[in-house]
């Protein structure tokens, strides 16, 4: 997994509540057997005026200029501002893959759907939960200020605004440790292989039908 420590990046506001993973990456792109290459199709149905299909060269597709991601001022954005319950619906990890492949490393929202939230960490992305008041403020400032950038520091768990104002965020210690160090979770879990085997032995004795 890619490590995440600190980022100073341009923010982009996606101002809509309950954005589902079908909107983040529509189903036709899920036919890929690869983990990469989803960035050009991020928010495909909102971003382009035509119908997207996997493998399509997106450089010449007609853009929906109303969609925020297509506005030149947000080109190169790495921090997504979002609204409540971001990433609801399907468990498709293609959603964080598309967001990450596009160039985002941080999302700031009041709340997330549980599966999506987990999936972000597995891909070296940091989903920050901030209060409604903070998120509202970021949206307002971002929309009013060209080149609006934030400094996100995972070690100190802080986000610094252009004004110098700072807010802190919570993160589970294990998630933080793994993200800071870009650790291979499977490798870490396998350090407990003896414990897993011991559990399995007890479990099998109690419920042999689970091991038929």
């Amino acid at each position: 997994m890619k490590a995440f420590t600190q980022l100073n990046g341009l923010a982009c506001p996606i101002d809509r509540a309950n954005i589902d993973t079908d909107a983040i990456i529509p189903k036709q792109f899920l036919k890929s057997i690869k983990r990469s290459g989803f960035g050009p199709y991020l928010f495909d149905e909102w971003r382009y005026k035509d119908h997207g299909e996997p493998g399509m060269d997106c450089t010449n597709r007609p853009l929906n200029s109303d969609f925020v991601l297509n506005q030149p001022r947000y080109k190169g954005a790495q921090i997504m501002l979002a609204r409540e319950n971001f990433g609801c619906g399907s468990s498709r990890e293609h959603a964080p893959w598309a967001i990450e492949d596009y160039g985002f490393r941080v999302i700031i929202a009041p709340s997330y759907a549980d599966i999506f939230f987990n999936n972000c960490y597995k891909n070296g992305m940091l989903p920050i939960v901030a209060s409604h008041a903070v998120v509202d403020k970021l949206f307002k400032e971002c929309e009013a200020t060209a080149g609006y950038s934030l400094n996100v520091d995972l070690t100190s768990q802080t986000v610094t605004l252009p004004s110098g104002e700072t807010f802190t965020f919570d993160i589970h210690p294990t998630s933080k440790h793994n993200l800071l160090n870009g650790l291979d979770e499977i490798g870490l879990t396998l350090l407990h292989a003896d414990k897993i085997k011991a559990f399995e032995g007890k479990h099998k004795a109690a419920q042999p039908w689970l091991f038929a």
């Binding site: 809509r16 509540a17 309950n18 589902d20 079908d22 909107a23 529509p26 189903k27 036709q28 899920l30 036919k31 890929s32 057997i33 690869k34 983990r35 149905e45 119908h51 996997p54 493998g55 609204r83 409540e84 319950n85 609801c88 619906g89 399907s90 468990s91 498709r92 990890e93 964080p96 709340s111 997330y112 759907a113 549980d114 599966i115 987990n118 999936n119 597995k122 891909n123 589970h172 210690p173 294990t174 998630s175 979770e185 499977i186 879990t189 396998l190 407990h192 292989a193 414990k195 897993i196 559990f199 399995e200 479990h203 109690a206 419920q207 042999p208 039908w209 689970l210 091991f211 038929a212």
Partner: protein, 468 residues
């Protein structure tokens, strides 16, 4: 000390290891696999030189990409075909307890075939790279969707890194009226608590209405727990659960059966257990439900009217209503019964089991699909469901009424195969999500029960199934 909830019991009996901050390694008993969310996980295992810890926990089957007609032609879309063939070769390499390749007599939607073959049992932990894994909670299993990285983690270690959820009890007491189904209960719950209402929670469904439901109905309710934001929905196993499982191919046999049932009987929330939150509904107050918007929480009883954004005080909700009305091509205050349909879809892991098809056939019998409906299709959940329905003559009832009778699969629930809506088309669907573009770009989805979908097909617009 307070007693334990069912969720606590399932959780506690699977903890392999706990970190100081509460992060746990949870042992996984059953891993369901389909073609869409698994290729990258198998590839990851190969690249790291790892093998599945217990291939005998895998139950696999392609379902999202498979066509529902003209099976002799195979899978025409080359990208879909490659994904299905990739699952074939991956399972060939690793092995599995159960694998039904494309066109196998028992192939079907992964959440239908798991239970019907007895591979989902009470007390298990069940995962799948699919959010509707919550379905299996109907058996008193702790079941939820995971991402592809977690699919790889479970294959490699037989465990999942997880943090314990909070506990929410949704209790539905009393009795359901005639024509009101498990689907209506699920939609009414989501309408009440919202699509984020269950975030961070595991939901236990209880109360007289839930106890009275068949296993199929319980699966429908748990299936939709994820649409309320809860990864897992659970129902305590009872005599009905055991009755459903007895004799199924992978269910325990002989002496194991009695031992298993004795254990399953302990899987209930203790009388003095405490939930973090409780939501109560009265069965008698639930009417047949219809979603009008682009989120499952945008739902109303059949006698309702499409909401007026001008009446909404909350700015975020007002914008959501405006966006939904625009996408759905609806005008504020339109009676739900005046909404005309173009297509009808009966199927999906929510409503494609034998009981769903029987309920649909009761309404369809001797009637005709309205001439204004361009396509009405019934997609059974599995080969077994299909054969059972055909043995009962349900397929004849559907085809005589003007429905197409298809081969099993996920089909137009998410439109990864050829079954989809065209832009602007409006569909009454028994599936689980009415998101923008879910059934095809620009398509408009209204979620309903199977009986309500058939009633709409016959009338050409929504009607109260209780009046037909």
């Amino acid at each position: 000390m307070a007693g334990k909830t069912l969720y606590d019991k399932l959780w506690d009996s699977h903890v392999v290891h706990e970190d100081a901050d509460g992060t746990c390694l949870i042992y996984i008993d059953r891993h369901l696999v389909h073609e869409v969310t698994s290729p990258q996980a198998f590839e990851g295992l190969r690249l790291a030189g790892r093998k599945p810890w217990r291939a005998d926990t895998l139950v696999a089957n392609p379902d999202h990409n498979t066509p529902t007609k003209d099976w002799e032609k195979g899978i025409e879309d080359p990208i879909s075909r490659l994904q299905v063939e990739t699952l074939d070769s991956n399972i060939k390499e690793t092995g599995a307890l159960v694998y039904f390749p494309f066109k196998h007599a028992n192939q079907g939607i992964i959440h239908v075939i798991g239970p019907e073959n007895g591979t989902t049992l009470p007390g298990m932990t069940v995962v799948c790279g699919d959010s509707h894994t919550s379905t299996h909670g109907a058996f008193g299993a702790l079941a939820h969707g995971i991402g592809t990285s977690e699919v790889e983690h479970v294959m490699a270690t037989q465990t999942l890194i997880a943090k314990k959820s909070k506990r929410l009890l949704v209790r539905v007491d009393g009795e359901l009226g005639v024509g009101v189904t498990a689907k209506d209960v699920a939609l009414a719950v989501i309408g009440k608590i919202g699509t984020a209402g269950g975030n961070g929670f595991a939901i236990e469904f209880g109360g007289e209405v839930i106890r009275a439901l068949s296993m199929e109905g319980r699966m429908t309710i748990c299936n939709m727990a994820i649409e309320a934001g809860a990864r897992a929905g659970i129902i305590a196993p009872d005599a009905k659960t055991a009755e459903y499982l007895k004799g199924r191919q992978y269910a325990p046999k002989a002496a194991d059966w009695d031992k298993a049932v004795a254990y399953w009987n302990t899987l209930a929330t203790d009388a003095d257990a405490v939930f973090d939150s409780v939501v109560e509904l009265k069965g008698a107050e639930i009417a047949p439900q219809v979603t009008w918007g682009t989120s499952p929480e945008q739902v109303l009883p059949i006698n309702g009217r499409v909401p007026d954004p001008a009446q909404e005080q909350d700015a975020t909700k007002r914008t959501s209503i405006e966006n939904a009305l625009k996408y759905m091509g609806l005008t504020a205050n339109t009676p739900i019964e005046d909404i005309k349909l173009d297509k009808i879809f009966i199927g999906s892991c929510t409503n494609s089991r034998i009981e769903d098809l029987r309920a649909a056939a009761v309404v369809a019998k001797g009637k005709k699909v309205a001439s204004s409906i361009q396509l009405a299709m019934v997609v059974p959940g599995s080969g077994q469901v299909k054969r059972m329905a055909e043995a009962e003559g349900l397929d004849k009832i559907f085809t005589e009424a003007g429905f197409e009778w298809r081969e099993p699969g996920c089909s137009m629930c998410l439109a990864m195969n050829a079954d989809r809506l065209s832009p602007g088309e409006r569909c009454a669907s028994t599936s689980n999500r009415n998101f923008e573009g879910r059934q095809g770009q620009g398509g408009r989805t209204h979620l309903v029960s199977p009986a309500m979908a058939v009633a709409a097909a016959i009338a050409g617009h929504f009607v109260d199934v209780r009046s037909v």
